[in-house]
Symmetry: C2
Subunit: 347 residues, 2 copies
Amino acid sequence: MSSIVRLDSLALKAEIDLQKNLFLLQILDQTQLPHREVWLTMTSLPQMIEAIQSLRVRGAPLIGVTAALFLAGQALSGESPASLQHITQQLYHARPTAVNLMNCLTAMRSQIDNDASAQTLVDTAITLFKDDVRLCRDIAEHGSQLISNGDHILTHCNTGGLATAGVGTALGILQRAHTEGKKIHVYIDETRPLLQGARLTAWELQKWGIDCTLITDSTAAQLMRQGKIHKAFVGSDRIARNGDFANKIGTYSVAVNCHHHRIPFYVAAPSTTVDRSCLSGDHIPIEQRIAAEVRGAKGYFGDVTWAPDSVAVYNPAFDVTPAELTTAWILETGIYRHKDIEQGVFS
Amino acid sequence: MSSIVRLDSLALKAEIDLQKNLFLLQILDQTQLPHREVWLTMTSLPQMIEAIQSLRVRGAPLIGVTAALFLAGQALSGESPASLQHITQQLYHARPTAVNLMNCLTAMRSQIDNDASAQTLVDTAITLFKDDVRLCRDIAEHGSQLISNGDHILTHCNTGGLATAGVGTALGILQRAHTEGKKIHVYIDETRPLLQGARLTAWELQKWGIDCTLITDSTAAQLMRQGKIHKAFVGSDRIARNGDFANKIGTYSVAVNCHHHRIPFYVAAPSTTVDRSCLSGDHIPIEQRIAAEVRGAKGYFGDVTWAPDSVAVYNPAFDVTPAELTTAWILETGIYRHKDIEQGVFS
């Protein structure tokens, strides 16, 4: 019997041989998409943290699973429990908004406290990976029921196989509907400033053969006015008990516009995104990022600055959408409506 | 007595010597802002049309005045009435949405029909320039009454001295309030895809010493939710009889968000922007631009493509904001409210 475990997703690969103490963790460098598909091997903590902070690996579920696997690899390479706790702490603070990162690391930390053996930590990390794949599958199964043949759907940022270990959350739903044979057309918000829609969602939808059109973020409203958008699906980095949720900056504007045009607005996320300790969106910490991201654009495609260097910038990575603008919450356990939230399904 | 006339604005210069048959028309190449201030001398029709279509000269009022002056220069250089009519026709179709361009050219065409002498056409073009300066001044005077000390104001695109022969429309109002001593803070939408906010409005507000913060277009909604935006001022390229108006893509999303957050939303434009032959916003032609503008960004700052080359794009240059989302229309003749529109002030 082989002791080698291979994990393989769109943006994450791991190869683990417990007998030989081998651990190979690779991430698809998303900053180079759609131009190049380059896999990076994660070998050191500074490299792992840099990859998370510079969004080489991104998407709330995916960074959680990746961090857990990285930690398991460190255990396999002989790091002491104290050192593993230190590494956990460092990873914990890499990005502040995604609760999945904290959840995965908390699960790993509990194991370190109980039994810091490499075997146990590797098993825990593999379970987190497989759980995420299953969560995505179940979210997609529920969510695709909300999609009709012929739907034109708006999405924001990237919530697909590049954001999770599985098929994705909001985008996973669209892929599921597509594979079920429903004809859909997806409008992709480019998602300034980091252009995850233009770079990643466009790449992913084309890979899947789903009809799509790229637009600037502020074009969506006019398409809604023209009746060309029937539904919107977005993901989330943290959902509060009252149903408020944080997601990529610009999501709130989509929600307001959907509300104005009476277009259903759905959020899809694994239940690990629900932060039961968080009473409302007001308590979700919002990551502030550097001005240069807004003064221009930078990536594998180049590095340009179009605004005056000296102009002040406000650049929050996320915004908060209040529950009242959300039509339904799609989790792996089902589709939840306002009455469910009021009955405490997230409490 | 000198017969030399000099016209001088932030983005347009003309020097006219009727006795010597000299005509020098220069535009500030706005595609190179904020990095370089380069003045281009307009000598040929293809060059003038290219400058309009590539937005070296832009802003509905400014392109109208510039086209009229160019035509006057052609008259001075001895073009026949038939040739002048042909040139007018070519300029007329350079960009389809801005009614000011058509208005200015119609005024010139009437003169050509009556009296195609260089003297007459130069006088007409100079009058159009001076009229625009006066219109801007009067718009600013009315509009600044709507601004209070301490206001935080959102604006979209560029509607200042780079968009008119005068101080601007929406931005002219902000400059006026500033020079009157009111303390204001301006949030500038970057205005994808062509980044007029990030490049031009940021440059212009800094030149005037007005406090400002640059944001991505989809960040405005969250600022409104936080109570950090008190008013929004935008310009217009064409106003229909019923008060609907076309403006830079993204304006409609600003209007919807202002409506949702009960924030006053003002449009400022000279009355030459009102198209009395246009019943409603549905009848305003909307210019569609090339996909490359959305797949990346291009300018003096560089040329980058971040989206897959093959992805479909929808790239309208303008959108239409319905009258019902507009708090008031600020023209050089005063501030108009819904009851004024209903009473036919634009009919």
